[in-house]
Subunit: 394 residues, 2 copies
């Protein structure tokens, strides 16, 4: 046979393995980056067919809130990380007590997954953000609203995402309905003052255990129904604002002791005031553009950081990049219609997550394009995105 | 639980699956590209731990020269392709007789895997190449050498790669030893005239079933001991030579009815004469730079072509790129020493293939860097490559 079976190719010691808690698209793109660096990956997920399941060397079925299941994953892994911030921090702490290397650590996840604690930790660093107050009761919520002035936003402290878990109160008359909607008698809530922003911006930060963080460009994000739709990189903001935003993002991640890639979302007021909205202790939708646009993507830098390896450069390889999310239009299969037309758009990089089914609003993929300007890149990405339909609109 | 298990997430019909015959680094990088487009992959390999094995949804152990094993892979796959040209074409033809979609087809592989037939097919198109002749006997070899003039190269018609299977004859006195070295009584051989080249160049071509081929830039390759060491893209050749090279490459792939990405290697003489050396019916080492450097990589375009999808743009995203191969220095593990230093080189994109063991000269990974010039890119890639050592030099 012409292709040699290498002599001495014996069953080797287990390859260096990164354990991923969760198997969605963020885990998939992280697994891709890990594979490029020669690492094996293992995932823990609750269902068999997930975006990352085909790309991992080991796929465990289980519940990531159960220490026993996390320990099964840890037994296969040299380092563990997570793709969502909702994993029970107490369960994660069990991993650490057993001597496993988890990055970011359970202490960081514990603070970040409770938005009130997250905000307290960041505020203690003197980082600007909308005012906030705990709302253990309707009385406390009202008191905060009176102190901040209407409108205010009532929010769940835990498990909110993509706007789920928020309710805006324009006056005291809205409180009862909002309290019921968020089930305030069961869920811990807090109140946040209303911030009239002109733009939403985001910064991806990769923080290593030692040394300087990698700071990605400040990007502008366009949200619709609280879901990230478009990311423009770099943002067209004055340098001073970009520098302030970068510095705030870096300090916020340090404030929670974060290790790895974090997404930091901020508001920009018309007068140039910046306020930190929230951070995610993981790779983030607003950093997907970095796969094509940066020398080292948010995913590769996350892998490097959690492995304890030197970080790569977050520098952009092109003057501008735009990412557009591909959301499900309704129920249907995971592969879209219009693929031929989308693939035919020169310069559009298509990412399909390989989900088995589409539902309305579900993140099914994204498109990135580079250009000399964000407008040029947007036009390319838009053409490709508009060609694709996931599921049947209903 | 906060992250929803999507209602209606039932065991779905099998995802669209690309079957890869072989599981080495070429299959790995093809699987990465397939995953980005939402495809599942299945591989057939002879050993359990291969670069692609962790990235495929299905890994079959078997012998790709056995139709039964190929048919097991085909049962999991919608489309089949291959990462090496040594698979028995008759076995591949069985797949087609069973109605499976194989790209490139067995007819192409059959011609290409016999270098004499490959050269005949290309010569019939009038494409310039060194003179060649069948050498079924020593007498025939001598006759050809006399016709061409010394030196000549005696080559195996099948299963040669990276210079294995070649012997240079400076005079008739060298024939006996060369014949014995290549085992000419067992192996079909041919004779090729000596071509005094100044440079070696290569062009990656992705040829779709319908429409125009995607032509990647003409690159310069530096071979050492018949193994590709460095690729510089684009080459610094006069436009007219580049255009001739592109046209020759495209016609050569068409001459063998190729579908998918093909690597076409050429010689350039000091007087500007071009001669086609050989083509590979697969993604190719001289196209690895396209992952970072081009709008659509050779791997993604291969996937697109074999799936019957529109091709992406082969345009470069940067003025210049350089790829340097990482070869094993000796026996040892698959992960190199010096990783920290290599990862710390800004702008160097490291690809480690995840092989379980290193042996001397084995392709263990590669580094790509972009730049404004190939010299700039080379300096970056060189620094990273020089930091890495695979195995113990001996």
């Amino acid at each position: 046979m012409p292709v040699p079976i290498h002599a001495g190719e014996t069953p080797s010691p287990r390859p260096l393995t990164l354990g991923l808690i969760g198997g969605g698209q963020l885990a998939k793109m992280t697994a891709q980056a890990a594979a490029q660096l020669g690492l094996a990956t293992a995932i823990l997920e609750r269902t068999q067919h997930t975006p990352a399941s085909g790309l991992a060397h080991h796929c465990l079925l289980g519940d990531w809130d159960q220490p026993a299941d996390l320990l099964r994953l840890a037994a296969l892994s040299d380092v563990l990380t997570l793709e969502n911030e909702f994993v029970d921090a107490e369960a994660l702490a069990v991993l650490e007590r057993h001597g496993h290397r988890l990055r970011p650590g359970s202490g960081t996840v514990k603070i970040v997954q409770d938005k009130l604690w997250q905000k307290q930790a960041i505020a203690e660093e003197g980082i600007a953000m909308p005012r906030f107050a705990d709302a253990p009761s309707k009385t406390a919520a009202l008191a905060a609203a009176h102190a901040f002035g209407w409108p205010v936003v009532l929010k769940k402290r835990r498990n909110g995402y993509d706007g789920k878990g928020n309710a805006t109160l324009r006056s005291a008359a809205d409180l009862d309905a909002a309290w019921q909607q968020l089930n305030g008698d069961q869920n811990a809530l807090f109140v946040e003052s209303w911030f009239s922003f002109e733009r939403e911006i985001a910064v991806m930060v990769t923080r290593p255990e030692q040394g300087s963080a990698a700071l990605y460009p400040v990007v502008e994000t366009v949200q619709k129904d609280h879901i990230c739709h478009v990311v423009r990189a770099p943002g067209t903001l004055p340098t001073t604002i970009q520098e302030r935003a970068s510095e705030m993002a870096q300090r916020a991640v340090a404030a929670v002791g974060g290790i790895g890639t974090f997404g930091v979302e901020m508001f920009l007021a018309p007068d140039g005031t910046l306020a930190l909205n929230e951070l995610a202790p993981r790779v983030h939708n607003s950093g997907h553009y970095t796969i094509e646009a940066c020398e080292c993507s948010q995913f590769e830098n996350h892998v490097r950081a959690v492995m304890g390896w030197p970080l790569g450069s977050p520098r952009m390889r092109a003057p501008a990049a735009v990412m557009i999310n591909l959301l499900g239009a309704g129920p249907g299969p995971g592969l879209p219609s219009g693929l031929d037309r989308a693939l035919a758009v020169p310069g559009a990089s298509l990412h399909l997550y390989g989900k088995t089914t589409s539902t309305r609003g579900r993140k099914m993929g994204h498109v990135t394009a580079l250009g000399n300007t964000t407008d040029e890149a947007y036009a390319i990405a838009r053409r490709a995105a508009d060609a694709l339909v996931f599921g049947t609109p209903g």
